[in-house]
């Protein structure tokens, strides 16, 4: 399990150029964000210009990984050993982060121009930069300290971004999120304290070697798990999520739903697979909660009247899919084949959802922006006037429903295979029910949009490219599904 996270020594020392690429990836978003705060971009092209080196650095790392396998950088500051590593999973998540981040950034100028954001708008840029940097750091981190730093950085940046819209509802939701996120990190820290106290080290590779099952590992796992579950909005600790998304700006929601909560989940999987390599019940508790999440989130989204709540609740349900996989990822009694399938399915689902959810938020944002209504009923007749936004929404929702040819489908296929091999019929049922519920709420929304009997109203024209950016993301989720072999192969590449 551990090798999958790239926690082993690399064969080659990284080239000097990769150092620069690493530096670019980690720091440039932050710097560019600060720059943008000073000179807020009004058009998309400066953003594109600024993000080009970041993406280029990401691709460079990808090629470097392709050439050399696992990359590992190490420094010693004072007495503390710091190290970063890049394996297939990190590359994938890094690229996902960058692309979604870039898409959100490109989307932002148009959005801000149209939505009259107020004076706080310029702060969005540094926060966004911080967020990207923190996320990039998280995918590369190899010790609990760095993870903690990245987690906190990300959390605070996320809270800040969510607050920017300045509406009272947003502030309330943000306040709740802030408090819960802080408490969640403290709980995580408590778990880390136990680990540090017992084993005296924080580097994951070392911990993975020396940790054996025992009460300390279990308590630490429980605390870390609970804290991260709160931050990752896992059912039943998800309730802060939808008000937050409902009131935030569209690009912020997209980033948050696509990436931020996934980061906590990533940490949860990472730490648990170190702390609980062969637990039986804990992953199952998560899985059972996941089943509930699928149903609950689906029902919430089904009955809601607000478009953004629908999208946010669907995140809860989609996280349920990921939770359901836990017993296959962790635990001692899983054969290698289903574990490998579940592993691939998990990350594919995660990435696919990230792309699709980001696209969906953007599409929803476009719809809301254009119609001036945030309720589902307000969408009546949009199929005539805003076909492209709806199409994007539709393509994104195909991924969420897990219908072919999307990443959601391919992931579901892999997961099904894994579950069938291990005979987890409940999980299979949950996934199937989830598909149907997803379809139910998605098409409830479409039903409104196809309603032709509604009175015609004025629509605000969208900035050029806003739809196209969303479309690109949604199609990326498709491509990820159809050509899943390559990214999944990348995940193997570092290990075997």
């Amino acid at each position: 399990m551990i090798w999958r996270f790239g926690l082993f020594d690399s064969t080659f020392t990284p080239l000097a150029t990769t150092h620069w690429a690493l530096l670019t990836v980690l720091c440039l978003p932050l710097l560019m964000g600060l720059l943008a705060a000073l000179f807020p971009p009004k058009r998309a092209w400066p953003v594109l210009l600024a993000s080009a080196p970041i993406v280029a650095a990401g691709l460079m790392l990808l090629f470097a990984f392709n050439d050399a396998g696992l990359l590992r950088w190490q420094w010693a500051v004072a007495d503390i050993q710091l190290s970063l590593r890049l394996n297939g999973l990190s590359v994938l998540l890094l690229l996902t982060t960058q692309w979604i981040g870039v898409a959100a950034a490109l989307y932002t100028p148009g959005y801000l121009r149209l939505s009259d954001p107020g004076p706080m708008a310029r702060w969005l840029w540094p926060l966004m930069g911080t967020l990207i940097s923190a996320l990039s750091l998280m995918w590369l981190a190899t010790d609990l300290l760095t993870l903690y730093v990245a987690l906190e950085l990300m959390g605070l940046a996320a809270v800040g971004m969510l607050l920017l819209s300045g509406k009272a509802a947003a502030l309330k939701a943000g306040m709740r999120y802030l408090l819960l996120a802080l408490v969640g990190s403290l709980t995580y820290l408590l778990g880390v304290a136990l680990i540090l106290g017992h084993w005296g080290r924080l580097d994951l590779q070392g911990l993975a070697e020396i940790i054996e099952p025992g009460p300390v590992a279990w308590f630490a796992a429980a605390l870390v798990g609970a804290g991260l579950a709160l931050k990752a909005a896992l059912f039943p600790l998800h309730a802060w999520l939808s008000p937050v998304h409902e009131n935030a700006w569209t690009p912020v929601s997209a980033l948050h739903a696509g990436l931020v909560i996934k980061a906590s989940l990533f940490m949860l999987v990472l730490l648990w697979s170190i702390l609980l390599p062969d637990a039986f019940y804990a992953p199952r508790v998560i899985a059972w909660l996941g089943m509930l999440a699928i149903v609950w989130g689906g029902l919430l989204a089904w009955r809601t009247d607000s478009l953004k709540t629908l999208v946010a609740s669907s995140t809860v349900a989609q996280l349920g899919y990921l939770m359901v996989i836990f017993p296959l990822l962790l635990g001692a009694d899983v054969a290698p084949l289903p574990r490998a399938l579940a592993w691939e399915g998990f990350w594919l689902q995660l990435m696919g959802h990230a792309f699709a959810k980001a696209a969906m938020f953007m599409a929803a944002g476009n719809l809301i922006l254009a119609t001036g209504e945030s309720t589902l009923k307000g969408l009546a007749g949009t199929s005539r006037r805003l076909p492209l936004s709806l199409l994007v929404f539709g393509i994104a929702s195909i991924t969420l429903m897990g219908l072919p040819p999307s990443a959601g489908f391919t992931a579901k296929w892999l997961l099904f295979e894994a579950m069938i091999i291990t005979q987890q019929w409940w999980a299979v049922a949950a996934l199937l029910v989830g598909t149907l519920l997803t379809a139910a709420y998605i098409f409830r929304m479409f039903r409104y949009s196809f309603d032709e009997s509604a009175p015609r109203q004025r629509y605000q024209p969208l900035a050029p490219g806003m739809d196209l950016i969303a479309l690109t993301l949604a199609l990326a989720a498709f491509a990820l599904g159809l050509f899943a072999h390559y990214p999944l192969g990348l995940m193997h590449g570092g290990g075997v």
């Binding site: 004072a78 007495d79 503390i80 300290l145 903690y148 730093v149 906190e152 605070l156 809270v159 800040g160 607050l163 009272a168 509802a169 502030l171 309330k172 939701a173 943000g174 306040m175 709740r176 802030l178 408090l179 802080l182 408490v183 990190s185 403290l186 820290l189 408590l190 880390v192 304290a193 136990l194 540090l196 106290g197 017992h198 005296g200 080290r201 924080l202 025992g214 009460p215 300390v216 308590f219 630490a220 429980a222 605390l223 939808s242 008000p243 409902e246 009955r303 809601t304 009247d305 607000s306 709540t309």
Partner: protein
């Protein structure tokens, strides 16, 4: 660790626990904030006692001064004209909620204590040898519970800060004041301070916008809609 009971540590531990509990459960918030400042100073002393000078100064600066100022600002005693809306917590919780939180606090207390017991095996035999650690457990558990119990935003913020301190204390207690632990704690302190500042700003802004001091029913209509 020395075998005999360190009087200074015990005193500090008692002082910390006492101030923390008052801070957590006093409905009069101005008083609670004062106690919080006192707690932070005691905390700094504790760090000093443990030999972490850097942490002590950080705690003094970030915890006592900055966070304290933040709290008073939230109450309207620093800077802008004060309003007394926040000064007193008027919420009365149903007894079931209180009972549940008490039970949870106990459970957490036991859990954390047991966990630490496993980490420091010698503590199982003589728990009184680590008074600060014990205080940390008590503070963490009760702060957690009161965070879950309270609805008043400032009180929750205070509870969070106390929880942070408790956790740092535990961390230092079980891991010693190694550089790694110090870095962890400093990051935590910084984040707590930043969070508090952000939280206080939010509280003020919310009060300004809507006159609310708790997060009740913010999106109630959304849920009840079918």
């Amino acid at each position: 660790m020395i075998a005999s009971i360190d009087v200074v540590e015990v005193a500090l531990a008692l002082c910390l626990t006492g101030t923390a509990l008052v801070c957590l459960f006093d409905r009069h918030l101005l008083r609670a904030c004062r106690f919080f400042v006192a707690f932070a100073i005691a905390m700094a002393l504790a760090w000093w006692q443990l030999g972490a000078i850097w942490l002590a100064s950080a705690e003094l600066l970030l915890g006592a001064v900055l966070t304290g100022l933040c709290c008073f600002y939230a109450l309207g005693h620093v800077g802008s004209s004060g309003s007394s809306v926040l000064a007193h917590d008027h919420f009365s919780e149903p007894w079931t909620r209180i009972a549940m939180r008490v039970v949870l606090a106990l459970v957490w207390f036991v859990m954390v204590a047991v966990a630490i017991g496993y980490v420091l095996t010698d503590m199982q035999h003589s728990p009184a040898e680590h008074p600060l650690l014990l205080a940390g457990v008590v503070i963490a558990a009760s702060a957690m519970a009161s965070f879950a119990l309270h609805r008043h935003l400032l009180r929750r913020l205070l509870a969070f800060n106390l929880l942070g301190s408790g956790v740092f204390m535990l961390l230092a207690g079980v891991a010693g004041t190694t550089p790694t632990a110090q870095v962890l704690i400093s990051v935590g302190l910084l984040v707590a301070a930043l969070g508090s500042m952000l939280g206080v700003l939010l509280i003020r802004q919310l009060l300004h916008l809507q006159g609310v001091n708790a997060l009740d029913h913010d999106s109630g209509p959304k849920e009840s809609a079918t």
